[in-house]
Amino acid sequence: MSDYAIGVLTNIGLVSFIALSAYLLLIAGEMSFGQQGFFGVGAYVAGIATAMYGIPLPVAAVIAMAAGAAAAFLVGLPTLRLRGLYFAMATLAAAEMLRILFELIHFQREIDGELVGPDGTQGFRSIRWVFEAGIEPADFLVIVWALLALAVTAFIVVERSRLGATLRMLGEDPELARMLGIRVERFKLGIAAAAGAFAALGGALYAHHNTYIEPRNFDIMLGVHSLAYALIGGLGTVFGPLFGVLIDIGVLEGSRVFQGYRMIVFGGLVALLLVVRPRGLLDERFVHRLRFRAFRHT
């Protein structure tokens, strides 16, 4: 496989994490404009852990997930009672505050005679754990996709359980859920924290893939893209968001057929697609029909 193909596939995997986190909130009926903030928290926390304190990446990734979940919990606490646009704007404000905090952090240590650590708008260089551990790009690709497979499996297990049914009911009708005795606020906080953790894991991997991060990497573009991926791929199954990422980064960017005007093609496709299928290609009805057919043939 060429270096370029490996790079594109790795990017698809990395973006999929944040698309998954947007999807999780969408099926619970909340639209977040702020998942990029938690992606950034994951990137910075994991980068600081490995590059400044010599903590191995697996441990650092777990710490990053905890930090992402904690940040999402704290943001969710005052905002989850808001609905629709209000919640979207509150999460956007939170993510932008996080991005500006990254710009204000100057926290460096001397390691092997070199200053390492986040340096405000100058960014954070030399997150070299992957290089020092001798992990080849192809190996890193396998790691990213293995973790993604794990995350997808977790989603599938949850969606088939009672928990998944509750999740979708919450998205469809929170009042009904409340009447049935579900503690809506608590449940949503849990979901927000889980979504934060997924985004943070993606961020941790991204920082180590790129070796360099800067605050601008985590602006609203990333957040809105992740929402768009989840929505065009479809809200019916966990494969929806992955499908959305695959269409944009894999097919359009990877093929380079539309180089130079890819976003014009992609933008038009998305807008037209949403006219026909407002809940994405793999929407609930499509998935239901697919399941029904599979069931009938067995």
Partner: protein, 133 residues
Amino acid sequence: MRTILFAALLLASVPALAQRPRADLDCKPAKGLLTYDCIIRLTRGGQPLTGAAVTVGADMPSMPMAHNLKPVKAAPGEKPGEYRARLELEMTGEWAVKLRLSGPVREQLILHFEFSETGVSPVKRPSERRRPG
């Protein structure tokens, strides 16, 4: 002279770390808008670093995972430690140039440059972005 030369040191300053490679990048506008010819000079411990396989890519600082250039392989240049590559950008402005080295040393170096139609200069302080115009 139209060409504006510059050198950008990636690593802060300290000479103690002789093992890590450093890169100087030297780009000038080539024929055709948005096309740039770049010379990369690699050194390690003050000595030219030869025989490395270098690929050059570039990211936009916003949404770097989706907006990037297809990396190109750099060819060895005239002098030892020199490599040449041609970049074709999508627009002028700030790009994060990503050098990936393999061969005698595996490393990834990222340098920020401001590409304009008259020349290319290193970005010391990535610009504040929320300006209207």
